[in-house]
């Protein structure tokens, strides 16, 4: 008897008992389910929620694999054991050593994220007696990609519990949440354990434990350096684009994110309106800041000068705004639903991201705060877009009847 039919028998056997959702979830996860989604109208498409989720995960896998290589590469590079790789196909980047070290660091993050998150989901499914929802599949993949590589696993576990319970379950589970759960998890980590989430140590594996010893290595991100009116030596724009820079695990390679974005747009899972308008928003804010610098309104001794003088287009490749725009802002549950609303929502995300980035040196990256803020405003934006439409049609109606 195959595993599938065994699972099917188990499913029938436990039907109506408390454990039923757990078996159903396993069955659905491994095989095509014999039913489709029946509530939650957050995605209006004919296919099953699971397929949508899997598409996003497929778009994320390259970033994850690249993140593993990069974790190893940054570590060995900081130690001075290897040469800097020139370009995406550089010889010292795609090595087995890098992959082994990176996988050793990154895979536990993935396992903890999925293990803890799905355990919470199972628990709630059993208590509430509904089916386990697929919503965590994408969140669980996003979480390891947006944290520093050296984050202690127990912190990640605590944050995942918080994010899934407070960010999602209290609102009624998948499709009902106001805030993006992955970003809720990151925000929790950020405010609860700031020493592990920001600063100049955490972004390269090994930098924290070596701090204060003669072997100390720098673990700073580019943004952190810019915020202090300095820069990192030996990094050019192509390095930023290919992703050969320190940062959160999966957000450094702009190249792979763009490929993922094209994939999401092509499969019509991600909204191109949100992605595009986010980038436009970021560029507009960058241009404004460049204008301020060019006009000489701000002295070069100002603490904002470093980031304000960054050419506007570079804002897209130095931080995680691309990752946020493609994978976070487009979350169909928490984003605006109307087309016009999506333009406004995305634009403000980009705009506010760069504003936080420049004006708040304590938080060199503002993308996740900007997206969470706009998550909260998304229903309001939608409301006014819909009301505006209603008004327009009422006017038309009056003209006709008059």
């Amino acid at each position: 008897m195959s595993l599938k039919s065994k699972l099917h028998n188990l499913k029938e056997k436990y039907k109506g008992t408390k454990m039923a959702p757990a078996f159903n979830a396993l069955h659905t996860f491994l095989y095509l389910p014999n039913e489709t989604t029946h509530n939650g109208t957050h995605i209006k498409a004919a296919d099953d929620l699971k397929r949508t989720m899997n598409t996003v995960i497929m778009a994320l896998v390259p970033c994850l694999i690249y993140g593993m290589f990069n974790a190893g590469y940054q570590h060995y590079l900081a130690l001075g054991e290897i040469e800097a790789a020139n370009g995406f196909l550089g010889g010292s980047f795609w090595t087995l050593d890098n992959l082994i070290l990176g996988a050793w660091q990154v895979l536990p993050l993935v396992v903890v994220s999925y293990g803890v998150g799905l355990a919470v989901e199972f628990l709630f499914a059993v208590i509430k007696g509904h089916e386990v929802e697929e919503g965590y599949l994408v969140t669980g993949m996003l979480v390891p990609l947006i944290v520093p590589v050296d984050i202690p696993l127990w912190m990640l576990a605590v944050a995942v519990i918080f994010g899934v319970v407070i960010g999602k379950e209290v609102f009624g589970g998948t499709g009902m949440n106001i805030l993006n759960p992955a970003l809720t998890i990151r925000a929790f980590l950020f405010f609860a354990y700031p020493t592990w989430m920001s600063g100049d140590k955490v972004w390269v594996h090994g930098a924290v434990e070596r701090a204060g010893t003669p072997d100390a290595i720098s673990g700073e991100t580019l943004l952190g350096a810019y915020a202090q009116n300095s820069s990192l030596p030996g990094i050019d724009y192509w390095d930023m684009f290919w992703g050969l820079i320190p940062g959160s695990v999966g957000e450094t390679s702009k190249f792979l994110i763009i490929i993922g974005a094209l994939f999401l747009i092509f499969t019509k899972v991600g909204s191109w309106r949100i992605m595009l308008s986010t980038l436009i928003g970021a560029l507009v804010m960058g241009l404004i800041f460049n204008g301020v610098v060019d006009a000489g309104w701000i002295p070069d001794t100002s603490k904002f000068y470093g980031l304000m003088s960054v050419p506007f287009w570079q804002h897209l490749i130095i931080g995680s705004i691309l990752f946020g725009a493609v994978y976070m802002a487009t979350d169909p549950v928490t984003a605006a639903q109307t087309n016009k609303g999506k333009w406004i929502y995305g634009f403000l995300i980009g705009f506010i991201s760069i504003m936080i980035r420049v004006f708040n040196p304590a938080y060199p990256e503002g993308v996740f705060l900007a997206i969470l803020l706009m998550n909260v405003f998304a229903p309001t934006i939608d409301h006014y877009v819909v009301q505006g439409n209603v008004k327009k049609r009422m006017k038309r109606l009056k003209v006709k009847t008059a």
Partner: protein, 210 residues
């Protein structure tokens, strides 16, 4: 259960001023980062509400109803000033921690609410019990929130190091544990209050309103 006991016990759980009536949230978020501050705040409110309720109840037949809010404010302001001065005299450090929030007891909705809703229509003894009951209900929530926030945020309770020393790495800190800085911020207090509300309404479904 006697009518008088009900006055004390009801606000402790099923008619709690914070979790059911959602009053007095402001101070519950602001001063609960330390357990000691929560306890002192609770005692202050206990005094103000207990005495205030009796005073208003005694005067209830001679207060012209048009200016009753002004009279209530004067009573509560007098009592708050007494509390503030006592704290400044005998617990100066604490009064600095509580800072403006002692003064803001005046605006605590629980107090005006009980004056309006109860003391103006009941005798002094029952008003006294009602004041004690409501401030105890307020105190329970403040102490629960303060307990979790201080324990998880600073690793201490009433200033005593419970989880070990974060600098010398003793106790739990030796295993890599770290204090949760989010607990010290007000948003987390709101979430803790929210969790208490959640637990309470799950245990007693009758409290869930549509």
């Amino acid at each position: 259960m006697g009518k008088d006991t009900k006055l004390i016990l009801d606000p402790l759980a099923d008619n709690n001023p914070i979790t059911i009536q959602v009053l007095g949230i402001c101070s519950a978020l602001a001063i609960t980062a330390e357990l000691e501050a929560s306890i002192v705040m609770s005692i202050s409110v206990l005094f103000v509400l207990g005495v205030g309720n009796v005073v208003i109840s005694l005067m209830r037949n001679i207060i012209p109803s048009k200016i009753r809010i002004i009279v209530q404010l004067i009573v509560v302001a007098t009592l708050v000033i007494i509390v503030d001065l006592v704290l400044k005299a005998f617990a100066y450090e604490l009064s600095k921690t509580l800072s403006v929030f002692v003064g803001l007891i005046i605006t605590n909705c629980i107090i005006m609410g009980r004056f309006e809703a109860f003391a103006l229509g009941n005798g002094p003894w029952r008003s006294f019990l009602d004041g004690i009951g409501n401030s105890l209900g307020y105190a329970v929530i403040l102490i629960i929130v303060g307990f979790f926030r201080e324990l998880l945020g600073s690793g201490t309770l009433l200033g005593i190091k419970i989880l070990g020393d974060p600098v010398a790495k003793t106790g739990l800190y030796a295993f890599g544990y770290e204090n949760n800085g989010f607990m010290l911020l007000s948003p987390m207090a709101l979430i803790v209050v929210g969790i208490i509300i959640w637990v309470q309404r799950t245990r007693n479904k009758a409290l869930i309103e549509d």
